[in-house]
């Protein structure tokens, strides 16, 4: 009985550890005198066929086609006792001839495995949990969405804040009132130490806070989902703020114009299943990323502009899943303003993007085996040699094993 309880507890903890998908499919092992320890290994792959109507050939106006792995990961999840869980995930970054949101490349950016996540998590109480290591920082709901459970083909293309999706640091978080309220606070690495090409005033930590209120079923985990496939009724409203002092110079050559980073976001998510009618999902979020107008400087730090620099915008998504067939239709719209969307060498001040997408998911085995189609249009307000409007069609097969 004791052993059974330990195994059940371990399984539960490992399940809680799965920020990125259900993934109970992988092999498990238990260890320890009373089987307090548990390890599970999962594979997570998203293989894509992408076709875009420009991006290659003379003047980059030729059609571009690519097969690639959007994600290609091995995840190791562990638990010991009733307080500690471990989540380690590696990723093989594939050669993506076409990568989101609009990059086209014929090189092979990385052929190495990287450690994507390495999180040590301590569950002292439902209202007080601590995570340390490399993990998703607490800012946008979209970034915290599990990578394998987006409503649309992928998460929002432009809402990513300045750092990558993960960062090193420590987070404290928890739930109150049976999960109706959730709080999060983290201290993360932020920008790393200075480099010769773009010196920065100093290397500081990045501080973030986030909270949400769930008015129907609670969302108590660290990770969110883009759809619960009609298994929950959710109405959650959230918001977050990030700050990092002295993060960039407006003039990196003269080393003047020190700027701080601020970012805030607000989001709402709704999903409601109705028997015989189906499941409706809708969400939207707004984000503002600010580097104190560093982009106006004489030689601004590249971190302060571009795709993940100073910008603001929002997305809205909606989905509908049939009641008796695992088929889900979705649509997405995004609207963003960038201080300077300089992708390579061409300045594009006050560039605006309208992005439209629609498609469908077919769930053979829930998220463990899923086929997705999405057609999208990217519309730049001011086209230039580096930013040209395009249409894209992607077919993606997801397997979690």
């Amino acid at each position: 009985m004791k052993r059974t309880t330990s195994v059940m507890l371990g399984t539960l903890l490992v399940g809680t550890a799965l920020w990125c998908g259900p993934a109970f499919a992988g092999p498990q092992m238990t260890f320890g005198p009373n089987d307090e320890g548990m390890l599970q290994l999962d594979y997570k792959g998203q293989f894509q066929m992408a076709v875009r109507d420009n991006g290659s050939g003379a003047d980059q106006n030729g059609e571009t086609m690519s097969f690639n792995f959007r994600r290609n990961r091995l995840a190791l999840m562990g638990a010991y006792g009733d307080m500690f869980t471990l989540y380690v995930q590696t990723e093989y970054v594939d050669s993506q001839n076409l990568s989101l949101p609009f990059q086209v490349s014929d090189d092979r950016p990385s052929k190495d495995f990287t450690i994507l996540d390495a999180a040590l998590r301590f569950n002292f109480h439902d209202s007080f949990k601590v995570t340390a290591g490399k993990f998703k920082y607490n800012f946008t709901r979209e970034n915290l969405d599990a990578c394998e459970t987006p409503l649309t083909l992928d998460r929002s293309l432009f809402i990513r804040a300045n750092e990558s999706t993960r960062d090193n640091g420590v987070a404290v978080w928890g739930n109150f009132l049976d999960g109706m309220f959730q709080y999060r606070a983290d201290v993360m690495e932020g920008r790393t130490a200075t480099d010769a090409a773009a010196p920065q005033p100093q290397s500081s930590y990045r501080y973030g806070v986030r909270g949400h209120i769930s008015l129907l079923d609670p969302e108590k985990d660290y990770g969110y989902k883009g759809t619960y496939l009609g298994k929950k009724k959710v109405l959650t409203i959230g918001g977050a703020y990030q700050y990092e002092p002295r993060v960039a110079y407006a003039d990196t050559v003269a080393k003047t114009g020190e700027k701080n980073y601020h970012g805030y976001t607000a989001d709402i998510f709704f999903e409601y299943p109705v028997e015989t009618i189906g499941t409706v999902t809708a969400s939207m979020a707004y984000e503002d990323v600010d580097f104190g107008d560093a982009y106006k400087g004489a030689n601004p730090d590249p971190v302060a502009f571009g795709l993940n620099g100073q910008k603001n915008g929002w997305y809205a998504k909606a989905g509908y899943m049939l009641p008796n067939l695992p088929l889900q239709f979705f649509g997405r719209y995004e609207k963003w303003s960038f201080a300077n969307l300089k992708l390579n060498s061409v300045d594009a001040f006050n560039q605006k993007i309208d992005w439209y997408g629609m498609g469908a998911n077919y769930y053979f085995r829930d998220q463990n085996l899923k086929l997705t189609f999405e057609y999208s249009t990217t519309d730049f307000a001011a086209e230039n040699s580096e930013s040209k409007d395009f249409n894209m069609f992607v077919t993606a097969l997801q397997l979690i094993f």
């Binding site: 003269a254 028997e275 009618i277 809708a282 004489a298 809205a316 303003s337 001040f349």
Partner: protein
């Protein structure tokens, strides 16, 4: 988990419509906050071509843009007088700074199997010039030359800055140099302005324009490719222009069209600096030489890269067509011969391998000082190690260091060069 439809359908529908209403309002009513364009007030980058007249520069001078010391300005102008220090000291456009034609136009550098005295400036020399002149990423550089000075100087300076990554809209050539300034009724002076040095480096530019300069190995390969039929000189293919000028040569790089650099300018009476022709006349001249906007690229050379700077500037700065300078030019090409014991692969007095087509039309007879180690080591024209200047410059651009294969010191590019 699924709800009974009759029981909850009304509430769900109301919530859904509420969400849709919010989304619709957001989509149609709410946009995003825009941003200022800090470049909106810049005028010096807005000239139709890189060729400007004296009145334009005078306007910029009157607007306080020349040597503007405000660190926040994005529309600074630096005037570089490309001449000798003696000529500069005599008179120059007010505010102009010296770009010394003896040492800051060409220098001796190793390339292929021998050093050459007339090659592009290295990164260290460029940075010294840039910093001393207060040039930064928001500076528009105007090249001029002393009264009676050579228009080749300003064209060569333009090519040098373009190669090192300065954007075209930030580089201008004053048509007619100081003579044109004076003829427009403006005065020259002999005051050497004091300007604050900048910390800018060519490394701060977005990218080098490495495709604007060819080495000896690249040029031989181009000729081989044309001879082999893998590159065409048809209407949409490439052109090679030999612009050494009168008397027109009968020995030249195979597949080249013999042109005359002087045809791109109008001589001015009284020994004044030559002026570039009008766009219409330049178009006519180029068309006569078989060069049109349809060409994928035009390769230009002369004797030392000075005269070829004229059509380089015309094609890049005025016409906006793709152009590459073969920097070693005839001085380098004509010396890669059997008589000079250049290793077999590099010889230009032979046929392209596998063809009966020569690499050179006529019999070349140049001279060089072989680098024995390079001549022994580099047995292929495509050996990347033999592209020493490109390697050194890219290395400097990316890392700030020089592994150097440069040879010797500076060699003055004379104003009557080529």
């Amino acid at each position: 988990m699924l709800e009974r439809p009759k029981k909850r359908f009304g509430a769900v529908t109301a919530t859904l419509f509420g969400m849709l209403a919010i989304l619709s309002l957001a989509m149609w009513g709410c946009g995003t906050s825009g941003y200022d364009n800090p470049n909106a007030g810049i005028t010096t980058t807005q000239t139709p071509t890189a060729l400007i007249e004296a009145a334009t520069l005078k306007q910029w001078l009157d607007e306080g843009k020349v040597n503007n010391q405000d660190p926040a300005t994005r529309d600074k102008v630096v005037v570089l007088e490309v001449t000798t220090s003696a000529a500069y000291a005599t008179s120059h456009i007010p505010g102009a700074l010296l770009m010394n034609s003896s040492g800051e136009l060409t220098m001796t550098r190793m390339e292929g199997v021998a050093p050459m005295t007339t090659m592009i400036l290295d990164g260290t020399t460029m940075d010294t010039l840039i910093k001393r002149s207060g040039i930064n990423g928001n500076t528009t550089v105007v090249f001029t030359v002393n009264k009676g000075g050579s228009w080749l100087n300003i064209a060569r300076a333009y090519f040098t800055f373009r190669y090192w990554g300065f954007p075209k809209e930030r580089l201008k050539v004053l048509n007619g140099g100081d003579n044109a300034w004076e003829d427009a009724g403006f005065t020259l002076d002999a005051v050497t302005p004091t300007v604050a040095a900048s910390t800018y480096s060519v490394r701060n530019n977005a990218a080098m324009q490495t495709d604007m300069r060819y080495s000896i190995g690249q040029m031989i390969k181009l000729v081989d490719d044309i001879n082999l039929g893998t590159v065409t000189t048809a209407a949409t293919g490439v052109s090679i222009l030999d612009v050494r000028g009168a008397p027109l040569p009968t020995t030249y790089v195979a597949n080249a069209t013999v042109d005359d650099f002087a045809q791109y300018g109008d001589a001015v009476a009284g020994g004044k600096t030559t002026r570039f022709k009008s766009v219409a006349d330049l178009t006519t001249r180029l068309t006569t030489m078989g060069v049109t906007s349809a060409k994928s690229r035009t390769y230009v050379y002369c004797v030392s890269g000075m005269r070829a700077s004229v059509p380089f500037f015309v094609l890049d700065g005025v016409m906006g067509w793709p152009v590459t300078m073969y920097d070693g030019s005839w001085g380098q090409w004509s010396a890669y011969t059997t008589a000079n014991a250049v290793s077999t692969a590099w010889r230009i007095d032979t046929n392209t391998s596998g063809t009966t087509l020569p690499r050179t039309t006529g019999t070349p007879s140049g001279t060089l000082t072989l680098d024995p180690a390079s001549n022994f080591m580099y047995t292929s024209i495509t050996d990347p190690r033999a592209n020493q200047i490109l390697n050194d410059d890219v290395n400097y651009f990316t890392s700030g260091t020089v592994t150097t294969t440069s040879s010797g010191g500076s060699s003055g590019g004379s104003s009557s060069g080529c």
